[in-house]
């Protein structure tokens, strides 16, 4: 039952802080090779079956890569509808972390049932947008207006208000300072508020703060050049950009949000900034979905920014855990090469942001060190199970 692989994270305590941090991955990174020899249609049908955890983001990245490679024009409505589904999937993943993992950090049992209604919302939204077919088919069509998704977005607002924020997500987004966040988290019933309050009481706000580089915007041309090399498999397993490890996380995306900036200036890019960035991102999703919904009905083609070699395409999508990159090469209408570069490989690089954060933990009590490390790993969030060992 370890087909999906796992991470093994080892901390070797030293004088004052860990002497060494080891991160090993057994994730099956070459599974995408099974698409070699398949048609684009078969690939788009089979890919979400294999990569089913963030299946929407995976399918969106695949569709972008394939359409680029085949020179197919996508209209604005289809593109907006797909991104709308990616946003909803991101909300689901964030809420799962909050409902399933966060209770354990304050000594409570997971409350996964809280997150179940959001799982049910995804197929509802998908059907509302693509009533006549698959959202990620080569010639998918979306003929609805924003009104079609008003109800699911309102339901998302309602769920997030009740389960996480205790006020509407848009109202919560007015919290723009460490002080205001402290006021919000004090005395609130939601697990998110209680965890943030608990963190502050323990003085753990700055835990694991590092100054790891954020993954910059990467052009399709630059990514194509890097992935079309003999050592591409090694790059996919342990990616670095311009000789630096980089992070691609909710914190990286929300780095300049007012609240995250306030927390960073006080505590650095540590545990509190990471958890708050997840909340900022989650609170912003209904608004982002409404903006995307306003673009539904557009027949304007999505402009293509770059031209890669014929038959080659790159698709980039911001998935829940970070940037997801797909690359495809076709020859004679069949896939010649398929590659996936996932955010977990950037973030859990043996010398990456998690390794650096763990290496900064100055705690001598083994049990407390284990708790701190587990929170830090969870705050970045690998998409596989992991074993954390303090030696």
């Amino acid at each position: 039952m370890s087909i999906e692989g796992r991470l093994t994270i080892d901390l070797y305590p030293g004088a004052g802080r860990p002497e060494r941090v080891g991160i090993q991955s057994s994730r099956p990174l070459q599974a995408a090779k099974i698409f070699r020899g398949k048609t684009p249609e078969a690939l788009l049908e089979q890919l979400p079956l294999v990569f089913s955890v963030c299946a929407v983001a995976q399918a969106a990245a695949a569709a972008r890569a394939i359409q680029e490679a085949l020179g197919l024009q996508v209209n604005g409505s289809v593109d907006a509808a797909r991104l709308l589904l990616v946003q909803l999937e991101t909300a689901r993943e964030h809420l799962w972390r909050i409902a399933i993992d966060w209770p354990g950090f304050v000594g409570e049992e997971p409350d996964a049932a809280q997150a179940a209604p959001l799982q049910a919302l995804l197929p509802v939204c998908r059907k509302a947008l693509f009533a006549d077919g698959d959202a990620f088919a080569l010639r998918a069509d979306c003929r609805v207006t924003g009104a079609a998704v008003e109800a699911p977005i309102a339901r998302l607002d309602e769920l997030l208000t009740g389960l996480v924020f205790g006020c509407s997500p848009s109202e919560w987004l007015t919290i723009d300072s460490a002080e205001a966040l402290g006021e919000w988290s004090h005395g609130k019933a939601s697990i998110a508020a209680r965890l943030l309050h608990d963190l502050s009481c323990r003085g753990w706000q700055a835990l694991g703060a590092t100054d790891c580089r954020l993954l910059p915007a990467l052009s399709a041309t630059a990514l194509n050049r890097r992935l079309d090399t003999p050592d591409a498999d090694r790059f996919i397993a342990e990616p670095v950009w311009e000789q630096h490890t980089c992070e691609t996380t909710p914190l990286a995306r929300q780095y300049d949000a007012a609240l995250v900036r306030s927390l960073r200036s006080r505590y650095g890019s540590g545990l509190l900034a990471r958890l708050a960035a997840r909340l900022v991102e989650l609170a912003g999703i209904p608004g982002t979905m409404r903006q995307l919904a306003a673009q539904l009905g557009s027949d304007d083609p999505v402009p293509r920014e770059e031209t890669l070699p014929p038959g080659t395409g790159i698709g980039q999508v911001e998935a829940a855990r970070g940037r997801l990159v797909h690359r495809v090469e076709f020859a004679h209408d069949k896939v010649k090469r398929y590659q996936i570069l996932a955010p977990t490989e950037w973030n859990f690089h043996p010398a990456g942001v998690v390794a650096a954060g763990l290496g900064s933990l100055a705690e001598s009590d083994e049990a407390i060190l284990h708790s701190q490390a587990a929170m830090l790993v969870n705050a970045v969030d690998p998409c596989v199970g992991y074993e954390l060992r303090v030696h």
Binding site: M1, I3, Q46, L49, V50, F51, S52, A342
Partner: protein, 78 residues
Amino acid sequence: MCLALPAKVVAIDEATDTATVALGEVKKEVSLALVSDVHVGDFVLIHVGYALNTISQEEAERTLQLFAEAGLVGEKQS
């Protein structure tokens, strides 16, 4: 890059909202908290101890076939 495994539900414990699922010869306990209306004999996608959603037997078999093509499972897991 994240895989979830299709597995068959072979027993359900309603008191704990968990199920015993089988993938080939291997059995495992998973939480059913994220899914509803699951019955013995159904197929579910499992990931890190949770059933994520139910899928048809056909989808489960096709997924396992794809995993087999990738060399991740044997051919006769389902």
